[in-house]
């Protein structure tokens, strides 16, 4: 029997978890959503969205290298994403501080080099990557239990990093020179954060595809930061949005003929747009209130 959306949550839930592959997809999606959204929150605040996008493209040389050498796809993804992160970290500082102009130039160069390498590996491999479309646009059909365990282990590692280094990382994001003068190891944190970003992106790309990493990495954080500047609330909303995007996306993809990548990206975009619009509205109302004559 083909699954169909009954709009009865209990029935739908039972339909969703009837196949093990779907349970794996839900578990992997949940894990990745939590990690990607938290990393993404810092990424948006640090203005490193371009770095995140470039690191997601590193999955392409990663996947083709893995096919060429004959190792697992995950290993290829993660190692290339981390190497790309290190390359960006190495080239993006001048005179002991972050240099935004140079950083984006280095990121662009890394991106071009990564794509060229991917194409080279593909030629050397000789065949075509069977799952090229999955690589680019994501799939939830083939997630194995091993993959879920790998994702969980990496997520725990990334979350531990934020538990330990979240506050000094935020300080160095907001005021790097002041943080450095207070003894925060800003250089080390920058490198470590890019490595975390590489890991998160490598994991996210396995679900959403290389091209649609935006859906879980950027959109939830960007949307939440539109709504509030309170740090705990902003982080909470970010994670909540990411979970909503992946759960709704997986459900719709399961019950319909269209791909997961389409759903998560569309939901993410709609969410961001809604937050953007409501912030503009809130600002307008706020301005009207403050513009009214104040009582001295």
């Amino acid at each position: 029997m083909n699954p169909h959306l009954s709009l009865n949550p209990v029935t739908d839930y039972h339909q969703l978890v009837v196949y093990p592959f779907m349970v794996n997809a839900l578990e992997a999606g949940t894990i990745v959503a939590v990690m990607a959204s938290i990393v993404g929150w810092f990424m948006v605040l640090r203005r490193q969205t371009f770095a995140g996008h470039t690191l997601s493209l590193m999955s392409f040389p990663g996947a083709s290298a893995a096919a060429l050498v004959g190792v697992s796809l995950s290993l290829g993804y993660f190692s290339f994403c981390v190497v790309g992160a290190l390359a960006i970290a190495a080239g993006s500082r001048t005179a002991g501080r972050r240099d935004f102009g140079q950083e984006s130039a280095v990121i662009g160069t890394v991106q071009a080099a990564g794509l060229a390498l991917g194409f080279l590996f593909l030629s050397l491999y000789g065949g075509i990557l069977e799952n090229l479309e999955e690589l680019l646009f994501g799939s939830f059909l083939g997630i194995t239990t091993t993959q879920v365990h790998t994702l969980a282990a990496i997520t725990i590692g990334v979350l531990v990093f934020f538990l330990v280094a979240g506050r000094p990382l935020l300080y160095s994001t907001v005021d790097e020179l002041a943080a450095a003068s207070r003894g925060v190891p800003v250089r080390l944190l920058q490198v470590a954060f890019l490595v975390m970003l590489g890991l998160a992106v490598g994991a996210t790309a396995q679900i959403t595809g290389v091209l649609l990493v935006f859906a879980l990495l950027v959109a939830p954080a960007a949307a939440a930061q539109q709504l509030t500047a309170r740090i705990p609330l902003s982080l909470f909303l970010t994670v909540l949005f990411a979970l909503a995007i992946i759960w709704v996306g997986l459900t719709l993809a399961y019950f319909s003929a269209y791909s997961l990548g389409f759903y998560v990206s569309t939901i993410a975009f709609a969410l961001y747009l809604a937050c953007r619009v409501s912030r503009t509205a809130i600002d307008r109302i706020g301005r009207r209130t403050t513009a009214a004559p104040a009582i001295a």
Partner: protein
């Protein structure tokens, strides 16, 4: 044993009350083969409000970097609060050259001040204990920022952001404040207001303040001493002795004139600009 007069923050370290806040002896810095300044000898007493002046690229920020332990001397000695600059770091509140927060920085002013208190500690940026929250509120009150500290910092004006940054620098109760061009890119009323605010903090908290400035005029009424960095040398003394035609002409070895305007401002005419090759102003967007 001698009894020394110490203030409350010195209770555990009475030795510090007697020593100079900053001491340079025959100090020189060479960067990339160019001597920025040399033979600098300077003493700043605890509790002084000092303006560091001089043309662009003369090495004012380099002097701050030396005192923060971020730039080693080529020759000479430096001590901050009686120890090596690195060891004195926790006693110093530092305000880097201004970088404006734009609307994409979605944290609140109060969060920034909070990071000044505990940002260097490992852990998560979560709401802390009530003692910490009280201290943050106190610092925000001291700079008069209570009205807008809970707004996103990117939506605050330049002057408001500067007050919040000052609160972040002093929230950890440092013994000294180092400020790099805090008046830069503020309009004139805000320059005057921030200068007066720093003077108030200087007196109320018995704080040593070292401030790099482009223009001495907003500060003239407040500072005890000026340190003039120019032509590879460093001069220091009360403003009325240093900012004179004779002293500055001798420093630059060319004719420099200091004019007094009718409203009490000083105008320095004819001062040669230093070469710009190392200037790192505006490197941060």
């Amino acid at each position: 044993m001698t009894i020394v007069d110490v203030d409350r923050r010195d209770a555990t370290r009475p030795d510090l009350a007697a020593v100079a806040a900053v001491e340079l002896g025959g100090a020189a810095v060479t960067l990339g083969g160019r001597t920025i300044w040399s033979d600098a000898t300077l003493t700043i007493e605890p509790g002084e409000f000092v303006a560091v002046l001089g043309p662009n690229g003369a090495g004012k920020s380099t002097l701050l970097r030396v005192l923060l332990g971020q730039q080693p001397l080529t020759t000479g000695t430096v001590s901050v609060l009686g120890s090596a600059p690195r060891a004195a770091k926790p006693e110093i509140g530092y305000l880097p050259q201004r970088h404006a927060f734009d609307e994409t920085t979605r944290i609140r002013g109060i969060d920034l001040v909070r990071l000044g208190l505990d940002g260097a500690r490992w852990g998560l940026p979560l709401p802390g204990r009530s003692a910490e929250r009280r201290r943050v509120d106190e610092a925000i009150g001291l700079v008069g920022a209570s009205g807008y500290a809970r707004r996103p910092i990117g939506e605050c004006s330049g002057g408001e952001q500067q007050r919040l940054l000052i609160a972040a620098a002093l929230v950890s109760r440092p013994r000294m404040l180092f400020l790099d061009e805090p008046l830069d890119s503020l309009d004139l009323p805000n320059q005057a207001a921030v200068a007066a605010l720093l003077n108030r903090i200087h007196r109320a908290e018995a704080m040593t303040i070292l401030l790099v400035a482009h223009d001495v005029n907003p500060l003239l009424a407040h500072v005890d001493r000026v340190v003039y960095v120019a032509a590879g040398r460093i001069l220091s003394g009360p403003p009325e002795q240093v900012i004179t035609s004779e002293t500055l002409s001798a420093l630059y070895a060319s004719h420099v004139e200091v004019l007094h305007t009718s409203d009490g401002r000083l105008v320095v005419v004819g001062q040669p600009e230093a070469p710009h090759h190392h200037s790192d102003r505006h490197a941060h967007p």
